[in-house]
């Protein structure tokens, strides 16, 4: 997933001097080194799972993978959808009705 560097910066903060994010690839032995100066940030995925990241690099890695610092539960607001659909249809019909009356006159 391609994530804008600005988004990483918004969530993880400015990268510490000398640290750049490079994808570690599929190396199973890769270990994230904790940064004592880094304030732990909780991140969430779309399913609501949570993880605490201990370094800017680790944070950037998860953000690149689609994790975020806010729990966003996306659900379809059906009641609003029905309301606005019915409202729109009513307005459209009223306009159509007015126009067709004028045509008849």
């Amino acid at each position: 997933m391609n994530i804008n560097p600005i988004t990483i910066e918004e969530i993880c903060g400015v990268n510490p001097p000398g640290v750049q994010y490079v994808n570690p690839g599929n190396n199973p032995n890769f270990v994230f080194t904790p940064d004592v100066n880094f304030e732990v940030i909780p991140l969430y995925d779309v399913a609501g799972n949570v993880i605490n990241v201990n370094s800017w690099f680790e944070c950037a890695h998860y953000v690149t993978g689609g994790w975020s610092n806010s729990l966003v539960v996306e659900y379809f607001e059906g009641d609003k959808f029905v309301f606005f659909t019915a409202l729109s249809l009513s307005i459209i019909y009223l306009i159509y009705s007015k126009m067709s009356q004028k045509v008849i006159v």
Binding site: Y75, F81, F83, T85, A86, L89, S100
Partner: protein, 675 residues
């Protein structure tokens, strides 16, 4: 032009019907699978992804027993899609999401398009009056008044606890009603004179909104009702009487917050709650309904040829679609949405309860009456106008007769035959002597038959059977089980200690109606020749196979004096269903079943009391015996009256409208001609 308009409407209709059950994400990896044991888990974990038509297409030729059931409590994103799969016995039940709010919108659009298909009488339109806003407000109020009904069936349900401007459920409901009434205002104004000729279709388009306790016909009639009131055309005496009744219902009858009736097959035309708010809603709606019928009675023009054709077409379509629904699970599912069935059609071709086949309808009895009415009307019109019968009409008659045969409604068949014979006698036998001889013979054989039955079955047994059945289902001898109870009751009846059983042992624990009937049965005075009224009802109930059902009614019906005189209120059954504690003497698997009174007279008694029943009876007798230009149609009214005595048809909107039509045919001032 008209033809093009109709073609476009039909295409639109097909689109609105099928699209919601077809839409799916074709780019996802979730594919429909054959419904078998191994894919139950697959469908349970992949919810709201696979559409109904996808599943159906994938399972063409699958011999497993598949049934598509509704899931009203699903979100709009799951509409028309599989929300689960379960196996009960050998039946796979596929749950399809049909969110109540969205279904309300979709069904309303479908039915408005159906009304649009009726060619208008004029192109006049009137602007939507501000006062008409009362109607959407009234019907939205039902969602607050019957909150227990709606909160079970709509995931978005919000009561007034939520701030109104954020309550999108109520706002959405109001907007849909507003849309309906704005469009109806145009559609009905242009068609109000001819709408009556399409009334037969009420048995095809039942119009009960899915997941809701309202029927679209009530919405339509309320529109006419308000129009009647705004034009000050209402019947003054009726309206005054209704105000008095309403005041008594609101002020004096027993209400509670707890009882709840889910409506079952009466959904759409029954009060689900017993609160004051729900009572107010149904009082106003019923008032509008009667005024609506009155308005249509004054403004309608009957085209009897059209009416007859529509009856035959409906009779045939109901039978054909009922059969299709019984053989195809998809049709069975779609029928319920397109036609607004208040109960799903029967899912197999074999009969239920050992004999009847209700097919498309919620009630085999009311459908049988409809078929009988169609045949009776056909005979009357044929004899009256001598119009040649086309081949198409013969075919439709065949379907209608087959439909009547399958409902196995003996009462309809017998009364139909009897009335046709009397009609033909009146029409073709001009010699008064021969006529009176035939009638005398008929009456003689009737009484002879009665005499033989009474002699064979024993008068004691016939006259007390109703009290016996009522006692069996009452809460007697609580220390023993049903078998022990029935033995003790039987012993006391055999010893003729019925009064002792009901009034001393029963005391206050039994229904007031059972106590009253036993007092009438054991009255101190005896008029010679005149039979005891309880004995007469008991004998009748036994002869028409209603003693058990009427017995249950008596065991359950326990009104106070005011409720007995004025009823519980329009379409209010909770007082009857839950107020009186009973112990039904029926098999265990049937103990939780819905036991309706099985007589429309008793239904009217429940809702409007003895005074309401008496008023209705006077009006009916007056209609039958008053001179009319259209005497022949009185046979239709008598036919329906005979049959609704033993059926609950007055609890269904379409049957009520059929009865109203038969009154209209007699009372209309216009001379009905065949053109």
């Amino acid at each position: 032009m008209t033809s093009t308009r109709k073609k476009i409407t039909v295409v639109l209709l097909l689109f609105v019907i099928l699209m919601p059950f077809w839409i799916h994400n074709s780019t996802d990896t979730v594919e429909p699978q054959r419904i078998t044991n191994e894919f139950i888990g697959y469908y349970q974990s992949n919810t709201c992804d696979i559409s109904l038509l996808e599943v159906y297409a994938k399972n063409i030729g699958n011999n497993n027993n598949i049934y598509y059931s509704n899931n009203y409590y699903a979100g709009t994103e799951c509409f028309g899609k599989v929300t689960g799969l379960d196996k009960v016995g050998d039946k796979f039940i596929v749950s399809i999401g049909t969110n109540t709010s969205l279904l309300f919108l979709i069904q309303s659009i479908i039915w408005l398009l159906v009304i649009f298909l009726i060619t208008p009488k004029n192109i006049e339109t009137i602007s939507f009056k501000f006062s008409m806003l009362l109607l959407p407000l009234l019907f939205t109020f039902q969602h607050v008044a019957e909150s227990r009904f709606y909160e079970r069936l709509n995931i978005y349900y919000q009561n007034l606890d939520m701030e109104l401007l954020n309550n999108y459920h109520l706002l959405g409901t109001f907007c849909i009603y507003l849309l309906i009434f704005i469009i109806l205002n145009d559609l009905l104004t242009q068609r109000e004179e001819i709408l009556i000729n399409y009334l037969p279709f009420a048995f095809l388009f039942v119009f009960t909104l899915g997941g809701m306790n309202i029927n679209f016909f009530i919405i339509i009639l309320s529109y006419f009702g308000l129009k009647n009131i705004l034009k000050s055309e209402g019947n003054f005496i009726f309206n005054c009487m209704y105000v008095v009744f309403s005041f008594i219902w609101l002020a004096s009858t027993t209400r509670d917050q707890n009882s709840f009736f889910d409506g079952d097959k009466l959904r759409g035309f029954i009060n689900s709650s017993n609160t004051k708010l729900s009572l107010i809603f149904w009082i106003v709606v019923f008032f509008l309904l009667i005024n609506g019928v009155h308005y249509l009675h004054r403004h309608s023009h009957i085209n009897i040829a059209k009416l007859q054709t529509n009856f035959l077409v409906t009779g045939s379509l109901v039978f054909i679609l009922g059969t299709l629904g019984s053989t195809s699970s998809l049709f069975n599912f779609l029928n319920s949405h397109i036609f607004g069935q208040n109960k799903r059609g029967i899912s197999e071709l074999s009969s239920i309860a050992g004999n009847t086949w209700r097919g498309f309808s919620a009630s085999a009895e009311s459908l049988g009456e409809f078929y009988g009415f169609v045949l009776a009307l056909f005979v009357i019109l044929y004899m009256k106008f001598k119009q040649p019968v086309t081949r198409f009409e013969y075919i439709m008659l065949g379907f209608t007769t087959l439909g009547l045969y399958r409902t196995n409604n003996f009462a309809v068949m017998a009364s139909l035959l009897l009335l046709i014979v009397i009609f033909l006698l009146e029409k073709f036998v001009n010699n008064r002597r021969i006529k009176s001889m035939i009638y005398t013979l008929g009456i003689f054989f009737f009484f002879l038959g009665m005499y033989l039955i009474v002699n064979q079955l024993n008068y004691e047994y016939l006259s007390t059977q109703l009290l016996y059945e009522a006692s069996l289902h009452s809460n007697f001898f609580t220390y023993t089980d049903n078998y022990g109870k029935s033995l003790q009751i039987e012993t006391l009846f055999n010893e003729e200690r019925i009064y002792y059983l009901i009034n001393i042992i029963g005391g206050d624990s039994i229904s007031s109606s059972l106590r009253t009937l036993s007092e009438i049965f054991y009255q101190n005075f005896n008029l010679p020749i005149v039979p005891n009224v309880v004995a007469l009802i008991s004998t009748t109930s036994l002869l028409i196979n209603r003693s058990e059902m009427w017995g249950i009614f008596i065991a359950k019906y326990s009104p106070n004096t005011l409720e007995a005189m004025f009823g519980y209120g329009p379409n209010q059954m909770n007082g009857y269903l839950y107020n009186q504690k009973v112990r039904l003497d029926v098999p265990l698997d049937k103990i939780t079943g819905l036991y309706l009174p099985h007589s429309s007279v008793l239904d009217i008694l429940l809702f409007f009391g003895l005074i309401g029943l008496f008023t209705g009876a006077v009006f009916t007798i007056y209609t039958i015996f008053n001179k009319s230009e259209n005497t022949d149609y009185k046979y239709l009214l008598v036919f329906l009256l005979i049959n609704i005595l033993k059926s609950d048809s007055m609890l269904y909107v379409n049957s009520v409208m059929l009865l109203a039509l038969s009154f209209h045919l007699i009372r209309t001032n216009e001379t009905i001609i065949y053109d």
